[in-house]
Amino acid sequence: MSEPSLLIDNLHVTVEGREILRGVNLTVPRGETHALMGPNGSGKSTLAYTLMGHPKYKVTAGKVLWKGQSLLDLTPDQRAKSGLFLAFQYPVTVPGVSMVNFLRQSLRAVRGKEVAVRDFRKDLKSAMDVLKMDNQFVTRYLNDGFSGGEKKRAEMLQMAMLKPEMAILDETDSGLDIDALRIVSEGVNSLAGPELGVLIITHYQRILNYIKPQHVHVLYRGRVIVSGGPELVGRLENEGYDNIIKEFGPADDDAPQAAA
């Protein structure tokens, strides 16, 4: 149970020539739930995009092992096929492509085989029931004109359909109202189990009351400065980042000033 599923070792990443990740070390064992927190601009989404293979994010040093294999040589679609999933902080709109067509194509690609229409409909219906989504949702264009909360739910719908082994949830809780947060969390929990690993990126404790992490990591200026148990969340919520940074942050402030 404790074999590392995702192992990030000394990862350095630049975006448009600027170094954003400056030696990230992080391990998520199979089936565990970890939280990744950190101030705005610390590089959380950069890490998420890098793990999914966004072409703009260039790895300049370090490695990432996923189920024992190097992840970084794979294209984004291969990563998805290998069981990795990223719920985007800002899901992308694709006009003219209906949710349902997209989902079918995605599912076919990930499974590597045709999906029977009846099974697809059944799975879709039950996933939408869990997430309390309206039927008309899937006939709409992908994220086009969706509200912030609807986009996040749509991300969860995709996750529920694709059944990944490791899900990175980048601020899935932002933009959700209290009811939606509970529904989405229950959705994630219903998928979790010994199989699903979760790396949940968030600023707030509230989602972590539903989805309980075993470990919490704090990212600051491109490095994980501290990893601890769930108690770290409470401390952050009460004290903010200042004390934690003073205690664990770099003594030499060699970081380029992070954007405000």
């Binding site: 703009k56 992308v92 006009p95 003219g96 264009y141």
Partner: protein, 409 residues
């Protein structure tokens, strides 16, 4: 010269045509001789389409074959509907044909008017609705009739009488067995009388060695509505005039253009939205996705003379460049004299959005598939403007098929 006055006389004599038609052909022939070959240096219309490599002398008229389209539609048509070859219509209902014979404008239209045979003709009587689509499929000649390359002259005449309703498809097909480059010069003339409705489609899937010239012109009466779909997926070089004349008050014309090309294809659409009456509305949307070294040119003219008060004209041209060397050009042109009208145009040329592509790929969809989905999505708003479902679906299928071949190479 492969075509001569004798060729014209022969075509007419072989069909024992009435003298009015013979005269019309000869007049067209004279116009053809008089009009110089379009020159991209000299003719504004042809500035972006260079046909100096086209040698008309290399072509010869095919005997009939490809000029006589395959006509398809439901087995039984409502009483009074005529659906036949144009040649036959000249014999059966000469007055109708004669009334709508247009004087030729332009070099290729004149050549067509002089040399057409076969052709297609539809007449829908007043207040009659033809439910299912009618179609004329103009194939290509598979074997050259002589040492010369084949020349085709498709011609369609559509008349929808008062309050009638029709869906019609002109399909300019390809023949995979085509051995030589082909000249295809087509003309479709559409008359839609007061209160009538027409959904018209021109689906151009010619071989990539074909020179395709066409004029699709609709004259639309009071309170009538016409929906035109122009899909240009084939052809080596094509130049099409797509013209809607809103001749009566309350008229509406919607034009949707779809261009999907690759390789060295060159597609040029020159459109006209001519408002000749008040309270008329025209709406044009042209979407081009171009790959390889292909090119899509769009020049759209909106004309609103002073009779066109309280009319609306819209024009939108969007292009998606799928490769570094593909090109798209949009040139809107307005001639607005009426002072109480609305006229807007919009346009944009872009590339496949990398964020969209990454998003789709992050869901397991391989790069090419992702690109294909994005292109499909790009065309979707245009497809949604097609009111007749059967046409919407067949157009969608044609696009998907073309997209399949494009992404193969």
């Amino acid at each position: 010269m492969a075509f001569t006055r004798e060729t014209v006389e022969q075509v007419s004599a072989q069909r024992s045509e009435p003298s009015w038609l013979r005269e019309a052909r000869l007049q067209a022939w004279e116009a053809f001789e008089r009009i110089p070959m379009p020159d991209s240096q000299r003719d504004e219309d042809w500035r972006r389409t260079d046909i100096s490599q086209l040698d008309l002398a290399a072509f010869a008229r095919t005997r009939n074959g490809a000029n006589a389209p395959e006509l398809s539609g439901p087995e039984t048509l409502p009483k009074g509907v005529v659906f036949n070859s144009l040649e036959r219509a000249v014999r059966d209902c000469p007055d109708l044909v004669r009334e709508h014979l247009e004087p030729a404008a332009g070099k290729f239209m004149a050549l067509n008017a002089a040399l057409w045979s076969g052709g297609a003709f539809v007449y829908v009587p007043p207040d009659v609705t033809v439910e299912l689509p009618l179609q004329a499929t103009y194939g290509a000649e598979s074997a050259a009739t002589s040492s010369a390359a084949p020349a085709l002259f498709p011609r369609t005449l559509i008349v929808v009488d008062r309050g009638g309703s029709l869906t019609f498809v002109d399909h300019f097909g390809a023949d995979s067995a085509a051995v030589a480059s082909t000249l295809s010069s087509a003309h479709t003339h559409i008359v839609v009388r007061d209160g009538a409705r027409l959904q018209y489609v021109s689906l151009q899937e010619r071989d990539e060695r074909t020179w395709h010239f066409s004029t699709e012109r609709a004259v639309i009466g009071r309170d009538a509505r016409v929906d035109v779909v122009i899909a240009a997926l084939g052809g080596g070089l094509s130049k099409s005039y797509v013209e809607t004349v809103l001749a009566g008050p309350g008229t509406e014309a919607n034009i949707v253009g779809l261009v999907l090309t690759d390789g060295r294809q060159h597609v040029d659409h020159q459109t006209l939205q001519e408002h000749r009456a008040p309270h008329t509305t025209s709406n044009l949307l042209l979407k081009s996705a171009v790959k390889g070294h292909s090119q899509s040119i769009f020049a759209g003219l909106v004309r609103m003379p002073k009779e066109a008060q309280q009319s609306d004209a819209f024009q939108e041209a969007r292009a998606l460049l799928l490769s570094e060397h593909a090109k798209a050009d949009a040139i809107p042109k307005l001639e607005i004299i009426a002072n109480d009208v609305r006229c807007t145009h919009a346009g944009a040329i872009g590339q496949v959005d990398e964020e969209q592509k990454f998003y789709l790929m992050s869901r397991g969809i391989p790069e090419r598939e992702a690109e294909r989905l994005i292109v499909t999505g790009f065309f979707e708003p245009a497809l949604e403007r097609i009111p007749v479902e059967a046409i919407r679906e067949s157009t969608r299928r044609a696009l998907a098929a073309r997209l399949g071949t494009i992404h193969h190479g």
